[in-house]
């Protein structure tokens, strides 16, 4: 039986997605990932983390989401394949490959973070930007998708100009487009006011990085631009966006750039550039103002290899998983008190309920973990220290 070549390609892509998911799994669950898996209500709105928390009953919840998100990231290339159906094969492959070769996609696919999910929504909006027929027949669906994008992560708002362009290019009036784009933004503002923890987090972090020099900000933003497009993809994508003079694309690019410039340049923000670079490349090939496709593709591959190698994160897991496993073997229920600074991954990995250490609470606790020295130290008679645990851990006898 002859297998359709698309299935073969999808299969090969899926193997790549599984590789990326397993690579991310080497680092165990990080604190931000634990926040989303456990539906901890800050700093982002609730949609995606609520969906993730519905799978908490799965013992393999972490791997499930790594594989699912990696698969969605990689297989999103089919959206680009579809919008480029009128291109030559060479151009089509170059545009689609730009998504898969972007260092940010390689580094982030399989992580359980919300920036890649936002990027996925943005790719969907790029798809609708070039498929007006879909937008004209179901504008409310696109608007609901936009709402879901905003309610997944606050960074979604950076793509508001892109979404505005989606409706305007499909022929909707300014009034209708405004309604579809702005109403969800207002809703997001109302949600934020109803959840003061989100606002408090933003206010706490608003001054972070402000004290850094202009050069530090420029270098940080520049690195993320580089990773977002693996160098050459970003270069051609940016140049092409500026050439189009399309306000939707340009404004979204400027907003993303401003966001990464003014905030702390976390590596996972790089992927916010990628959908825009891909849209830029689409424009470049659509207007036929591009170098030959296959040689350009070869340059993309080389550039991606260099940037990805240089920007690859360490997958060294922190000690939490090993420490929690040692603890879980000794105690399966009760409270664990933790002294020192700790991340949400403790709440994910530990079978015990996590609280901050104070000596007065040791009476009701089952275990104590001293990441810093437990000060003041509690009375350890009646307690046993776990031998061989990576951090100082005590359990009640």
């Amino acid at each position: 039986m002859r297998v359709k070549k698309e299935w073969v390609i999808a299969g090969a892509l899926e193997l790549w997605a599984l590789t990326l998911a397993n690579w991310q799994a080497l680092g165990a669950v990080r604190t931000d990932e634990a926040k989303y898996l456990l539906n901890i209500p800050y700093p982002h709105p609730p949609v995606m983390r609520w969906v993730m928390s519905m799978t908490e009953w799965m013992p393999f919840q972490e791997m499930f989401w790594r594989i699912l998100l990696a698969s969605l990231m990689v297989q999103a290339v089919w959206l680009l394949w579809k919008v480029t159906k009128d291109f030559s094969l060479e151009s089509r492959i170059a545009v689609c490959a730009s998504w898969l070769l972007a260092s940010a996609v390689i580094i982030q696919a399989g992580s359980i973070m919300l920036a890649p999910v936002t990027a996925l929504f943005a790719v969907l909006m790029v798809f609708y930007r070039y498929r007006h027929d879909n937008v004209m027949t179901k504008p409310a669906l696109i608007a609901l998708l936009w709402t879901a994008m905003l309610f997944t992560a606050y960074q979604g708002i950076l793509f508001a100009p892109l979404v505005w362009g989606v409706f305007r290019r499909a022929g909707f009036s300014k009034k209708d487009s405004l309604l579809f784009v702005i109403a969800p933004v207002i809703l997001l503002a109302l949600y934020s006011l109803s959840n003061p923890l989100a606002i408090a987090t933003m206010l706490i972090h608003k001054n972070e990085g402000v004290r850094d020099s202009l050069m530090t900000h420029l270098i940080g933003a520049g690195k993320l631009w580089l990773i977002g497009g693996a160098g050459l993809i970003g270069l051609f994508g940016t140049w092409s966006i500026l050439r189009t003079r399309d306000s939707g694309l340009i404004l979204s690019l400027l907003l993303v750039a401003a966001f990464v410039f003014f905030s702390i340049p976390y590596p996972f923000y790089a992927i916010l550039f990628t959908p825009l670079f891909v849209a830029g490349l689409y424009e470049m090939f659509h207007r036929k103002i591009h170098p030959p496709g296959f040689p350009l593709l070869a340059c993309f591959i080389a550039s991606s290899a260099v940037v990805t190698l240089l920007a690859r994160p360490s997958m060294e897991p922190n000690a939490t998983r090993a420490a929690a496993q040692a603890l879980n073997q000794q105690a399966s229920e009760g409270i664990v008190l933790i002294s020192g600074s700790f991340g949400h991954e403790w709440q994910f990995e530990s079978h015990l309920t996590v609280r901050r250490y104070t000596p007065e609470l040791t009476k009701s606790a089952q275990a104590v973990v001293c990441l810093n020295p437990c000060e003041p130290m509690f009375n350890t008679s009646g307690w046993r220290r776990i031998e061989g645990a990576p951090v100082e851990t005590w359990v009640k006898k």
Partner: protein, 94 residues
């Protein structure tokens, strides 16, 4: 579909406005806001709470009603508490 979108916006806006109304004293009165922040920090230090587990339900100039949800894998134990702003005392919701 347009009506569905409009209805979704209105229903969600109504829900969020109701939640905002329940906590509005902390937005309109700076002294209440400061007192709430201090009270929550005092209680969190005393009880070993993680502030990310706190969900404010209702706020007044005298007390705070909140849910403390212990986020963990599986079912999250949660308890409703009322905290008096005057002395940071904690009692279960009625």
């Amino acid at each position: 579909m347009k009506q569905l979108f409009g209805l979704t916006m209105i229903v969600l806006a109504g829900f969020f406005l109701w939640r905002i109304w329940n906590i509005h004293p902390m937005y309109v009165d700076g002294s209440v806001r400061a007192q709430i922040q201090k009270t929550l920090e005092d209680v969190a230090n005393r009880e070993g709470w993680l502030l990310s587990n706190v969900e404010l339900k209702k706020v007044s100039s005298k007390d705070i009603r909140l849910i403390y949800r212990e986020h963990r894998k599986g079912k999250d134990p949660e308890k409703c508490h009322v905290i008096q702003l005057s002395d940071s005392s904690l009692k279960p919701c009625a």
